[in-house]
């Protein structure tokens, strides 16, 4: 186990600045998820920690030791790749033992560690199979087993679930989380899937265009996104965002008034803002803001309504079922405390 810290990290590929001044710390035993759209630099940051990319400027420390100049193998980290990267000519056992074999560990230790990892991951019966004889989920578990046998200070995961089908992904998500709770090894996990980030992370680092937008626990990010990007990236379905003008304790948008928390003192009368409200924070009522139903999507436990006010689409998620039909007019209400307001030009939270 170990702490990790990034200190003013830069990465350039030629003239392209991929990472621009990133600094944050990861506590011992923490599960941190780097999340962001493709090309935001999250994988690059992970690969720099892994030693697979050079660091253009700045320092990365593991347990207080600067590891910039260390070879990958001397950093005491293990990585699980998106594509599994199993050695196809070796059995599961040989794949998992490979790093120990290179370190010339004695046969008994190797056998012990491999058996142990196989038991944790439910791979006992597959040890003598080749990767080509395994399913996607099993291969991913072998890749994890290869990381576990090394008993590293830090686990790195680079989008490990994106090659799996939806059902398996959910199962593996829980498996990885359970594994972390059991081993308590510091983990850095990269994904573009915000649901993965929300469900697995102790803390989430949201990145965009090579910078960190916000760091916080999943619920912090959900409840108090610090800017419009985080607000729209975190949460599914995405937050409804309307352009409007502040009028007293309301935002005037779509020719209606949207009440905001009167405690927000950073807004001024007539200011141009974005008004944001999460689909799950809207509810149907007998009076309120009128909207036309466009699509009704029942998913069993929840129902998602796609509504329209003027030209603007609004999403609403409600528990249970509803009897409304497309083209019906419904009325919306919400708790003003749940409303988010962002400045129009800076897109920062107000």
């Amino acid at each position: 186990m170990a702490s990790v810290s990034f200190h003013n990290i830069y990465k350039n590929f030629g003239d392209v600045k991929v990472i621009r001044c990133i600094s944050f710390d990861i506590q011992d035993g923490e599960f941190v998820v780097l999340v962001g759209p493709s090309g935001c630099g999250k994988s690059t940051l992970l690969r720099m920690l892994a030693g697979l990319e050079d660091i253009s400027a700045g320092e990365i420390q593991i347990d207080g030791r600067v590891i910039n100049e260390f070879e990958s193998k001397d950093r005491d980290i293990a990585m699980v790749f998106q594509s599994y990267a199993l050695y196809p000519h070796m059995t599961v056992r040989e794949n998992m033992a490979f790093s120990l074999r290179l370190r010339k560990a004695d046969v008994r230790t190797t056998e012990e560690r491999v058996t142990n990892a196989a038991r944790i991951l439910n791979l006992d019966k597959l040890l003598d199979r080749f990767p080509r004889e395994l399913s996607g989920g099993q291969r991913q578990r072998v890749a994890m087993g290869r990381a576990i046998v090394r008993d590293p200070k830090v686990f790195l995961f680079d989008e490990p679930l994106s090659n799996l089908d939806a059902k398996l992904r959910v199962a593996m998500r829980a498996e990885i989380k359970a594994l972390h709770q059991r081993l308590k090894t510091t983990t850095v996990y990269v994904t573009h899937d915000q649901i993965e980030a929300m469900t697995m992370a102790d803390r989430i680092v949201v990145m965009q265009n090579g910078i960190v937008e916000q760091i916080g626990t999943p619920l912090e990010l959900f409840d108090r996104p610090c800017n419009l990007f985080v607000a729209q990236f975190i949460g599914s379905p995405a937050m409804n965002v309307l352009k409007g003008t502040v009028q007293g304790s309301y935002v005037h948008a779509l020719e209606t008034k949207w009440q905001i928390n009167s405690n927000i003192t950073t807004v001024s009368e007539g200011q141009q803002v974005y008004f944001g409200i999460r689909p799950s924070d809207l509810s149907l009522a007998s009076s309120g803001i009128a909207a036309k139903v466009v699509v009704v999507e029942p998913t069993g436990a929840e129902t998602e309504l796609l509504l329209q006010i003027g030209e603007q689409s609004i999403t609403l998620v409600m528990h249970g079922r509803t009897s409304v039909n497309p083209d019906d007019i419904v009325y919306l209400q919400f708790d003003p405390n749940k409303a988010h307001v962002f400045d129009l030009s800076s897109e920062q939270r107000l």
Partner: protein, 281 residues
């Protein structure tokens, strides 16, 4: 409907395949015909000899003719030279391909382009310069002269082919091995080579057969009867007016057998799909 389509496409393939097959087999048929005919009926024009005989092979094995004095030595020369060329070429081409494709050494592209450029010049054009060079180093009439020449000719193509093949290996494997603590040399031996076996066999076979079949360079660089390869010795059969055609063909047939055997032995290694299951594509 579909079955008609299938039949017609099969028929088209046969229409192309059968002439090609005949075209290929015809010279071989001739070779067999000559080699099993007694000397006086070899050119009789029959489709199959009246009294087929294996006597010609007996003569070859017993070296019972002026041209066959060094038959076994020359066959041995062919073997030694071909195998050495195959092995050396493999070593050079694999190292180069690994360095260029996996270690991404600087100047790799230039090496690849230069390798391609060598094929703009026909090998025959290089025969005289090569002869001069070997002379300067005092290698004429030495097997190494032919071996070096053949390695020079075979390597660029082999490097090119192996580089293409190794580019197809997933790069994540190298990264995983590096994280597991493998040095470049360990990566080469434990991950790269086992996965390259099919390409190595193909390329090694190519180099080996190139040397085995070589005539021009062998003829130029080696001159003593006991030094030349069997391919050159076969050429000597035609140096007199009364060439013993039936012995030439019998020897030629024998000379053609090792490549066939070699091909069948190594065919099973030339399989694709060795890297299945390593990464999700």
């Amino acid at each position: 409907m579909t079955s008609w389509k299938k039949i017609s496409s099969e028929a088209k393939l046969l229409l192309i395949g059968i002439p090609v097959l005949i075209w290929t087999l015809f010279p071989i048929y001739h070779m067999v015909l000559f080699s099993i005919s007694p000397r006086d009926t070899a050119t009789s024009g029959r489709i199959w000899p009246e009294n087929p005989t294996l006597q010609n092979f007996n003569i070859v094995f017993k070296r019972d003719h002026f041209y066959l004095d060094h038959f076994w030595t020359q066959l041995g020369n062919s073997f030694v030279i071909a195998i050495t060329v195959g092995a050396l070429t493999l070593f050079i081409a694999t190292s180069a391909a690994f360095a260029i494709s996996r270690l991404k050494v600087r100047g790799g592209r230039t090496v690849m382009n230069l390798a391609l450029v060598t094929y703009f010049i026909p090998a025959a054009f290089l025969a005289v310069p090569m002869y001069k060079t070997m002379g300067v180093y005092g290698l004429l009439n030495n097997h190494w002269a032919l071996i070096f020449a053949m390695v020079t000719i075979a390597s660029p193509y082999c490097i090119w082919v192996l580089k293409q093949a190794s580019d197809k290996l997933p790069y994540e494997l190298d990264e995983a091995a590096r994280m597991d603590g493998a040095t470049p040399l360990q990566l080469f031996w434990m991950v790269y080579l086992p996965l390259m076996v099919p390409s190595l066999v193909a390329v090694g076979t190519y180099a080996l057969l190139l040397a085995w079949n070589e005539y021009l360079y062998a003829f130029l660089l080696l001159s003593k009867d006991s030094d030349v390869t069997l391919a050159v010795a076969l050429g000597h059969f035609l140096s007199a007016d009364d060439s013993p055609w039936e012995l030439l063909m019998a020897t030629g047939l024998l000379y053609a057998l090792p490549p066939v055997a070699f091909y069948y032995i190594f065919k099973r290694y030339m399989v694709s799909g060795l890297t299945d299951g390593s990464v999700k594509s």
